[in-house]
Subunit: 238 residues, 2 copies
């Protein structure tokens, strides 16, 4: 497998390139509009064909590159079921898999940040968690159909039940971390774990914590959400 983590410094967003170099097929997860040229250049240099652009969710902090990439390459735009994004070519459900050559990508429902959020397990050994589980953190749950109870249920039941050695690749990081593991997050994630005892917080304790964060609105939300509901085709959405 060819696997590349790509970073957009302006929004601290990670995009992932997953490819089978033998079959020459590729998928991008959470591409960023401003980085389409960079990503496409890399795909071409590697001799790959872009088959899918997958979204973990309708983003509020950046505009997706999916619409532009589809226009330029003919790839399929894949979004989680129930996402308000009629532009998508395919709506993917929990447990559903896609193939990129010999590589299997499995959708895992991780709602809570939004009500239509998927993580993607790749090749069995790593999971791209979007804005659900982050490294020593998690996505916010206080706007855009967020629900802290659902976040707790899905992270603890759908992600923390994966093998401890599973690599965790988040949709963002703001401290310069690039990767973690399920085992590490089950021990050291302060949102989900009481660090003093090392035990999982209760659902109630997690909800209270999330409801007390008082975070500012993301700068791009007014522009990003309607644009992303149109797969990032900005002119159509504005």
């Amino acid at each position: 497998m060819l696997f590349r983590q790509l970073f957009d410094a302006e929004t601290s967003t990670y995009t992932y390139l997953v490819a089978d170099p033998n079959a020459r097929e590729a998928a991008l997860v959470d591409p960023v509009l401003e980085q389409v040229e960079r990503d496409l250049k890399l795909i071409r240099e590697l001799g790959l064909t872009l088959k899918y652009c997958l979204e973990t969710h309708v983003h509020a902090d950046h505009i997706t590159g999916t619409g532009k990439l589809r226009e330029l390459t003919g790839c399929q735009g894949v979004v989680p079921v129930q996402a308000k994004a009629q532009c998508a070519d395919h709506f993917i459900g929990h447990g559903e898999t896609l193939q990129v050559g010999s590589i299997t990508i499995e959708a895992i429902a991780t709602l809570g940040h939004t009500d239509s959020h998927m993580s993607y397990r790749v090749h069995g050994d790593r999971v791209l968690t979007g804005d659900s589980l982050l490294i020593r953190g998690c996505g916010r749950t206080d706007f855009q159909s967020g629900d802290p109870g659902l976040m707790y249920d899905h992270v603890t039941q759908h992600l923390f039940t994966l093998p401890d050695e599973t690599l965790v690749y988040p949709g963002h990081d703001y401290r310069g971390h690039t990767v973690s593991t399920i085992g590490e997050e089950k021990r050291w994630n302060p949102r989900f774990v009481d660090l003093q005892t090392g035990k999982l917080r209760s659902r109630e304790s997690f909800i209270a914590l999330m409801n007390s964060l008082n975070l500012p609105q993301p700068k791009k939300i007014q522009e990003a959400v309607p644009a992303n509901e149109q797969c990032g085709q900005v002119a159509a959405a504005v």
Copy 2:
């Protein structure tokens, strides 16, 4: 092997954590002073002991965390032979190896950015190239004892001779790339390759290109170089 790429957004610097989780030994390559707390927290959470801090070279764009980490952990500070950094515990030469548990780190001379620059080959399958070979680029050669001819000789003779599938982890990236391979750089690095023909540039052509770049001075050079010659012990250096 446990391998972590860590990013300092202010200077676009990558630090690498290399560890043997069974032996519980770790090394940091090119730690950044402002990120010492982050890196040490991670090392402690992972239950590791920091054995070495390795420098690829005396940096001009950020202050190393080695001095502070040595003070806090008792680790050894390792710098390339001939580096003007008397504070070091060990000067490492071309071809010399260090052990971190069962993991072998081999120093590979890659002069040119400075006159005492090492890349570190880790576990046989990846090379940390500091400011020599970058992803689709290379370190500048126009100050601080830089020499474009040496850069060309060492990159082409010491790095491009590694197996094509060797992963390339640079000391910086300014476009959001995290990793490449020797094979990719031998085909697509515009500093070393004529992209139209796909053939390696001549030494003369590379030198002419490097001498025509006219880059601005790094913002931190006046502060960083003397501090790094003291392993980042800023108070002592200023």
